[in-house]
Amino acid sequence: MKRFTIRVNGDRRTVEADPEMPLLWVLRDRLGLTGTKYGCGVGVCGACTVLRDGRAVRSCQIPVREASSGRFTTIEGLSRNGSHPCQRAWIEEDVAQCGFCQPGMILETAALLEQKSRPSDADIDRALGEHVCRCGSYPRVRRAVHAAARLSAGVL
């Protein structure tokens, strides 16, 4: 066990953990941030996606010893009140079914829109192409990404 300080959702949080423990489990089991989901543990499903300095990363692939640098944002910290354009767009398009994979997709989209304010369908395929949703929310995810882009631009 070692002591680590990580910056998440604007706070500095100190945890004792095995250096190899993935950030995912630090968030979920040590910091009570259960909005970040476990889906595969091997970085292929996207459920555990968080933002690191605004870029989407798979928290199951980051050992806590490598998490001291950078500022992390989880779904709980994306906005104070669900007002982020992605969250509003997700509600607008009624995307979620079971909803379990949605935090990861929302954060991936937030990162995408930082890079590309008006993503094309091909951009969306590239950015969200790894995320697994067994409910098949994909058609609505695509619509919501476009809607979020419009909301971000203040077009709606």
Binding site: M1, D18, M21, P22, W25, R28, D29, R30, G32, L33, T34, G35, T36, K37, Y38, G39, C40, G41, V42, V44, C45, A47, T74, I75, E76, L78, G82, C86, Q87, W90, I91, D94, A96, Q97, C98, G99, F100, C101, Q102, P103, I106, I124, D125, L128, G129, E130, H131, V132, C133, R134, C135, G136, S137, Y138, P139, R140, V141, R142
Partner: protein, 731 residues
């Protein structure tokens, strides 16, 4: 499928024990942040409680209870809509809480796509009688006849005097009134919520990361457990060296439970690490030498020895031998499939002497409660079951094996425990959709009419429902779904069902028998159409003419199937040319189905097959009739969901075995569809019945045959084994 199996699906394996848990409608953590403030059971006398479903407080807040498990199908929105419609509640003031199993909620089982269908009348009646009481309370206060008052949007109004009073002001008076035996239901013409588009009620919590799934349950002092199970289903541990595991900081205990060896730790990751450090000698049991080929060969040999004739009209085999009939034989294969819900199996349990409390995302809360009561030899009333949100169900969570594990481990260590399955655990210890082989023989006469049809299915019994007893006709008489209830008018038709015990755990997978049987049946209709030189839609139209047959207890309304078939054909511009770029092959295929005599669906798939054989589904046009629509937005989600679910077995996924072990372990080797695979989906609804029927499973069965038929149209190659392999379609 037989009545028993169907009933069990319907009842969620309900054990029927006498249950006496007092219901506290506001006892459960609600899942939206807004609701978290209202967790305390309010001992407020100013509250109108009506039956087990409705509670209204003095502020006018309406609390509605949902007794079905929410797994993405939208029941926490659609079921309260039914109550709120009849109650005339203001939807913006409605809050939803999840029921607990007990005498008030003996049927929380969520399966067979029947949550809305089975709740439709009871919920309407509950809402209507509450409305009658509130109106009566207002009428008495005003001294006017109740018949001159009406309820609307959370208030009772007396139009003649222009007076109105909100429900919240009526709760005390309404509580004192006798409950009417019967209350008039609203006329559908007056429905405001039902049939509209309502966004799912848990949406805000979901996008804020505040929605609570089983994996998010936190109980003070709880430990996490990971269980090493024998890699070969049916095997067991002979010995275990846990010394390395116990040296890991954070590992608390290693205990044996019926399903394997559990490592109990302070956090999930350490439990996984500890589990991986166990050195276990397994007795792998009789399955250890089995490969996928073993199971296919068992299915092949069962056609002769295990077959039951479940439907026979005319002399099908004789008709196929007629010299004037062109006979076609074909064999279709559907492999084992996993559910692979994104939330892996998990449950949390607190076991103390004489009591148990469990949090489990299960589709069978009552069954779980009864099973735990039996396991611990305590009354069911001493077992509380909480149902958080399910991160996907699809039939997997009709089983509750993972929750029993949590109870076993919690009992063994005397602490609250959350059992968590890794993705590999989940993929390798599923209750699989069994592999099956369908053999179809059919004949067309000189005029291109289908003269005979012989449908044989060989499959494995679903272990979820207990051991197979072939001497009990209920285990096979109503099977197979999709073959038995073949809706087509064919003069000579024979259906056989060969079922044998399953060597691996099997269960209910979205639409159960229908995906394999409808894949075969609808592909074969196309094969016969091609053999007869006929258009597949025209042939189906001919086969759907004539009076509606009764098969078992089901009446097959052919006109409803015909209507969705025609609609799908029309909206997809069936028969028109599909432009293809050079090097591409494109085609359209159609398929239709009726699910247990009720919901009907027809789909047209448009595919592009590239030179290297890869199939891209470009578009699916779906015509769908599940009768009365409750939530239009939710229904469309379910249809999209079912279609994308159907892509997986059509193009991407299968479970295979080697040395008795499941070979797949992640979404890498079980590559479920991703966003770029998602076709354009167009939905056209028909409301062909006054009552609602299900929509969770019903969109799935036509997907595979529509795609396979489209692939045939594009390439001339008939695919009879799923998933479709690119190497079979190289130009």
């Amino acid at each position: 499928m037989n009545a028993t199996r169907r009933d069990m699906l319907r009842m969620g394996l309900l054990a029927g024990a006498a249950l006496v848990i007092p219901i506290r409608v506001d006892a459960l953590p609600a899942s939206t942040p807004r609701k978290k403030r209202d967790l305390k059971p309010a001992p407020d006398p100013e509250r109108f409680r009506h039956r087990q479903w409705i509670s209204i407080d003095a502020t006018g807040k309406v609390t509605l209870v949902v007794h079905k498990s929410e797994m993405g199908q939208g029941v926490r929105t659609s079921l309260p809509m039914i109550l709120a419609e009849e109650l005339e509640a203001d939807w913006t003031k409605v809050e939803v809480v999840q029921a607990e199993p007990g005498p008030d909620f003996p049927d929380m089982g969520t399966s067979g796509s029947d949550a809305v269908e089975s709740s439709w009348l009871p919920l309407r009646q509950a809402g209507a009688s509450a409305r009658v009481l509130l109106i009566e309370a207002a009428a008495r206060a005003w001294g006017v006849p109740a018949s001159s008052c009406r309820a609307e949007s959370g208030s009772v109004r007396h139009d003649a005097s222009g007076r109105g009073v909100p429900f919240g002001s009526l709760v005390a008076a309404a509580s004192r009134l006798p409950v009417p035996a019967e209350a008039p239901l609203k006329s559908p013409a007056d429905f405001r919520l039902i049939g509209s588009r309502v966004r799912r009620i848990d949406g805000p919590a979901i996008v804020a990361g505040a929605a609570v799934y089983g994996l998010d349950v936190r109980v003070p002092g709880m430990l996490r457990a990971a269980i090493a199970r024998c890699p070969v289903p049916g095997g067991r541990a002979v010995s275990c060296d846990a010394s390395a595991a116990k040296k890991i900081a954070g590992v608390r205990e290693v205990v044996e439970v019926p399903s394997g060896i559990a490592v109990v730790a302070e956090d999930t990751w350490t439990a996984f690490a500890g589990r991986d450090a166990l050195r276990i000698v397994w007795d792998e049991g009789g399955n250890a030498t089995h490969d996928t080929a073993t199971y296919w060969s068992r299915l092949e040999t069962a056609f002769e020895k295990d077959a039951h004739v479940t439907r026979s009209e005319g002399d099908a085999r004789g008709a196929l031998e007629d010299s004037g009939v062109k006979r076609i034989d074909a064999e279709y294969r559907f492999p084992f499939q996993a559910h692979a819900t994104v939330e892996t199996m998990n449950a949390t349990a607190v076991v103390s002497p004489g009591r148990a409390e469990i949090w489990a995302g299960t589709q069978s809360p009552n069954g779980l409660q009864a099973r735990v009561a039996k396991l611990l030899a305590i009354p069911a009333s001493s077992v509380r079951v909480h149902v958080p949100l399910l991160g996907g169900g699809f039939g997997r969570r009709i089983g509750y094996d993972y929750a029993i594990e949590a109870v076993e481990v919690a009992r063994a260590v005397g602490r609250p425990v959350q059992v968590v399955w890794s993705r590999q655990d989940d993929m390798r210890h599923d209750l699989y959709q069994p592999a099956s082989i369908t053999r179809l023989s059919g004949g067309v006469d000189a005029r291109g009419r289908v003269a005979g049809w012989w449908h044989r299915l060989s499959t494995f019994h679903l272990t979820l429902f207990g051991p197979l007893d072939v001497n009990d006709p209920d285990t096979w008489a109503d099977s197979p779904w999709g073959g038995l209830d073949n809706p087509y008018a064919i003069p000579a038709l024979r259906v056989e069902y060969a079922v044998q015990s399953s060597p691996v755990p099997t269960g209910a997978w979205r639409a159960v028998d229908y995906p394999p049987t409808v894949f075969a049946r609808e592909s074969f209709v196309d094969e016969l159409a091609f053999a007869a030189g006929r258009d597949p839609v025209d042939l189906r139209r001919e086969l759907l003419a004539g009076p509606n047959p009764t098969i078992g207890k089901r009446v097959i309304d052919r006109s409803r199937i015909l209507r969705v078939l025609d609609l799908a054909a029309e909206k997809s511009a069936w028969g028109s040319a599909l432009p293809a770029a050079s090097g591409q092959r494109r085609g359209r295929g159609i398929a239709c189905n009726i699910y247990h005599g009720r919901t009907v669906a027809a789909q047209v798939a448009e595919v592009t097959v590239s030179a290297d054989g890869r199939v891209k589904v470009d578009r699916i046009v779906c015509a769908f009739d599940c009768g009365r629509v409750i939530n239009r937005a939710g229904l469309e989600s379910q249809i999209e969901s079912g279609i994308i679910w159907g892509l997986a077995p059509s193009l991407f996924t299968r479970i295979t075995f080697r040395a008795g072990r499941v070979e797949q372990g992640t979404y890498r080797d079980f590559p479920v569809p991703r966003l770029p695979d998602s076709p354009r989906i167009e939905i056209h609804l028909v409301e062909g019945a006054d009552r609602p029927s299900g929509a969770g499973e019903q969109p799935v069965p036509p997907v595979a045959p529509a795609i396979a038929n489209a692939v045939f149209a594009a390439t001339g190659r008939r695919v009879r084994t799923l998933p479709i392999r690119p190497e079979d379609l190289i130009a």
